[in-house]
Subunit: 225 residues, 2 copies
Amino acid sequence: MKKIYTGKTKDVYELDDKTVLLKFKDDVTGKDGVFDPGENQVGLQIEGAGRAALAMTQFFYEKLNALGLNTHYVSADLDKNEAVVKKAIVFGKGAEVIVRYRAVGSFIRRYGDYIESGTEIPTYVEVTLKDDVKGDPLITKDALALLGIMSEESYEELADLAKKIGDVVKEELAKKGLELYDIKFEFGLIDGKVALIDEISGGNMRAYKGDEYILPLELEKILLG
Amino acid sequence: MKKIYTGKTKDVYELDDKTVLLKFKDDVTGKDGVFDPGENQVGLQIEGAGRAALAMTQFFYEKLNALGLNTHYVSADLDKNEAVVKKAIVFGKGAEVIVRYRAVGSFIRRYGDYIESGTEIPTYVEVTLKDDVKGDPLITKDALALLGIMSEESYEELADLAKKIGDVVKEELAKKGLELYDIKFEFGLIDGKVALIDEISGGNMRAYKGDEYILPLELEKILLG
């Protein structure tokens, strides 16, 4: 198997011209030893983090596929920390899609003069470019089209799909008494259609139980345990 | 006359319930003594800068009003460095609207991985919040509506008006052999309709003659001299 990408939390191997293998690692993003899903650097290693991320990924993607929402997911092997997914064309050098239900994190860092941290908001979708040096800059629909990163049609498709998928995750968390504040997705094109790619794990979302922030591994336990 | 606002490049006095007086100063924005229209701090004083800014403001606003484009402008007195304008309700704590014709400045600081500095682009409009501490964050149409800063209808009205006004400035510069790279506007609501407010001066735009950047005072001389 040829390794084609070494990521922060997983590596990617080529299987054939249509599919790749994702190998989940025990690295999580954060800073100074504290987990932060918004951080770009690997901050610490947590034993079992890779397996937990994959278990949540499997849990959600199987639901999404069953609901007919377009994703790259084919199958997962929890014993090997591996998943098989369809190849996708990423937007530009990678774009991140954030679905927000409460104003926290970078939304407050940008717009904190206009809204109190933690305020419930109508479902809001925004796109940032993966660019560690430039601090993942926010980008508008118009600029995405102008720069040839994403057509306006793909943007609309993506925003709609992101909200639907966000709502599925929110509902599953709610069943366990948890509240989803925000979640970060990545999308790509598979056969010209927008599809969810990458993992869905605790490291990509902020979940709370009342006022208490739930750490990714804890979240996996509550959801799947 | 009651002073109601002390700005970086001008002060504002109340005249009556419908109009205010703008008093232009000789301060310009920049850093370390170098003029930069994108900077938020007053970097230097240039004698005659206030009068030059007002002369350009008068020049453009009289054209815009004659074209039926909605503005706050009533009249100007060049000898006193003063203009009379209609009162407007600003969006939130002030929003800046940038119309871009070439990719330079903060567009490159954000998206420089996707486009070479100086590249011609289809007319592009974006909105940033006036917030010196947070570095004037970019904001999407959706977030403006969500935060109650600007309705979607006002946004569309504003984007359309900004392009039209940008094009007027671009054409006037072209008549003198200059090219407009980008321009920063401020808009407000007057009687519920979106209107251009604030000055239109060299300090709010980047103009080039071939490869040479034209300083604000030089620009005023070329345009009006």
